[in-house]
């Protein structure tokens, strides 16, 4: 059941911005308010706009359930894997081995308020990214399943 052309064009225009804004929230989770869950929900909202504005059959080729399932599983596996990374290096589960190490995301931050640097916080940005793509995939699958019931309906 498609909506009018105005709504469809608006949804097409909004979708990339929702994607960019959500991924921005995900990747700046250790600096600004937000994080993986919130950013993933924003991206899934962008997918929801497109699915509601277009019919389910129009979107099913672009936002595929197989991709979203793989993305969700990959997010959870990346989260558990980055938590288990510390086990392989001889630390406790969930130990932040990359923080203050100087390598990837390894810069230190001074005490107190400071402008912040993206390349800090060790494993936290990686876990944020993992949770972000997991929430993105999971909520989009739920939306696809729930809204796929509309496809039999008669309409314009």
């Amino acid at each position: 059941m498609r909506m009018s052309k105005l709504v469809r064009t608006g949804a097409d225009l909004l979708y990339p911005f929702a994607l960019i804004f959500g991924l921005y929230i995900v990747m700046h989770g250790h600096l600004t308010p937000g994080g993986g869950f919130q950013g993933g929900a924003v991206v899934a909202t962008g997918a929801a706009i497109v699915i509601v504005a277009w019919a389910y059959e129009d979107v099913a080729g672009m936002i595929r359930k197989v991709t979203m399932k793989a993305q969700e599983s990959a997010g959870l596996l990346l989260f558990i894997g980055s938590a288990a990374l510390a086990l392989g290096l001889g630390y406790a589960f969930f130990a932040n081995v990359l923080a203050n190490s100087g390598s990837l995301f390894g810069l230190s931050v001074p005490f107190g308020p400071n402008p912040g640097e993206l390349n800090t916080a060790g494993l936290i940005p990686i876990m944020n990214f993992a949770v972000g793509i997991e929430v993105w995939g999971g909520l989009t699958i739920i939306l696809l399943y729930l809204l796929s019931g509309l496809k039999k309906e008669e309409g314009t």
Binding site: A99, V109, G122, M127, Y145
Partner: protein
């Protein structure tokens, strides 16, 4: 009679509930040892400016793992429930 009694009890309880936050000072928690620890050591231990994220993803990582697994299980449940409603010939394009 019963309704009036219930109303009186409700008003007394609601008033007491609203009175408690009015009597407490805002911004002065009774126990702040753990908050102070996070604020003082969070930036040097996790190198993250956002203390909330540092608590959620580093100090309380297990909690977040549980949250992720709950979300994953919810999605699996929705998928299972709606899969039964589809016709047989619609399975292959899943």
């Amino acid at each position: 009679m019963k309704r009036k009694l219930a109303l009186v009890i409700f008003i007394v309880l609601a008033g007491g509930l609203l009175l408690i936050p009015a009597l407490l000072d805002f911004g002065v928690p009774a126990f702040s040892d753990m908050d102070d620890y996070f604020l003082e050591h969070g930036q040097e231990q996790t190198a993250a400016n956002n203390i909330v994220t540092a608590v959620v993803f580093d100090y309380r990582g297990f909690d977040t793992l549980g949250e992720s697994v709950v979300l994953f299980t919810a999605v699996v449940g929705v998928g299972l429930m709606f899969r039964r409603m589809l016709k047989e010939e619609e399975y292959e394009d899943e």
